[in-house]
């Protein structure tokens, strides 16, 4: 059974199960920021996934990136696996804007997160999922 790291569980909100990954929204309204968690246990590196899983992660990352771009009209998507703090394999997909707090630097580990307001978060997720469903077979 897939186990979620307690810190990831605390810092993010469940959105949807994709074929390989659990998709979660980071609870930080400074950035529209998703985390994809492959439902495999004990792995820490992308290259430890099977080749098939690596391809599937890339597909899901591209799909989330496209839907996030359509939703936010962002300037740039940042994708990354860092995992220096939380070991569980997780993949960031983040919408960046020239007016965001840390542009053009990376977002991780800088400043304090600002939780989403419930109404704004619900509207954002609804809009994102509508774009995702138009782009994908994951309806």
């Amino acid at each position: 059974m897939f186990k979620l790291d307690p810190r990831i569980e605390k810092d993010s909100i469940f959105v949807k199960e994709l074929p390989l990954c659990q998709l979660r929204l980071q609870n930080d309204s400074r950035y529209p920021w998703f985390v994809l968690l492959p439902r495999v246990n004990e792995l820490t590196e992308v290259h430890q996934l099977s080749e098939h899983e690596q391809m599937q992660l890339m597909k899901e990352s591209a799909l989330v990136s496209k839907a996030l771009t359509a939703t936010t009209q962002c300037k740039k998507i940042n994708v990354a696996n860092l995992g220096n703090v939380v070991a569980q394999l997780h993949w960031h997909v983040v919408a960046r804007f020239e007016h965001d707090q840390t542009w053009p630097g990376p977002i991780w580990g800088i400043g304090a997160s600002i939780a989403w307001q419930d109404q704004k978060r619900a509207e954002f997720i609804d809009s994102f999922l509508e774009n995702l469903s138009q782009l994908s077979q994951f309806k």
Copy 2:
């Protein structure tokens, strides 16, 4: 014809052509740090690549990650496409250590790079390419 961004050209050293990407070593001895550049022009986002190119990028990233891990015995691999400063699509593969300058934070935009010494760089690349060739068909 594939064009390299002048800043990437200045800050990194050619290592090898892979099937999709030009592989370059960032000239910053603080981190064993490769940059993969898909030989496509005008694109800035991973999800703008064709599906086949996305899969090939993932394969080459995994291969470089494995060879870099074998070469350095690093604690963690960081992979990312940020591209907030240099627009040309480029993919980072970085070996991280608990004793490195910015651990556990990200490496980008912090402190000044320290150029590799020629002899150490040549030894590092030789060792990396030996591991790469043992792992791959790119001999």
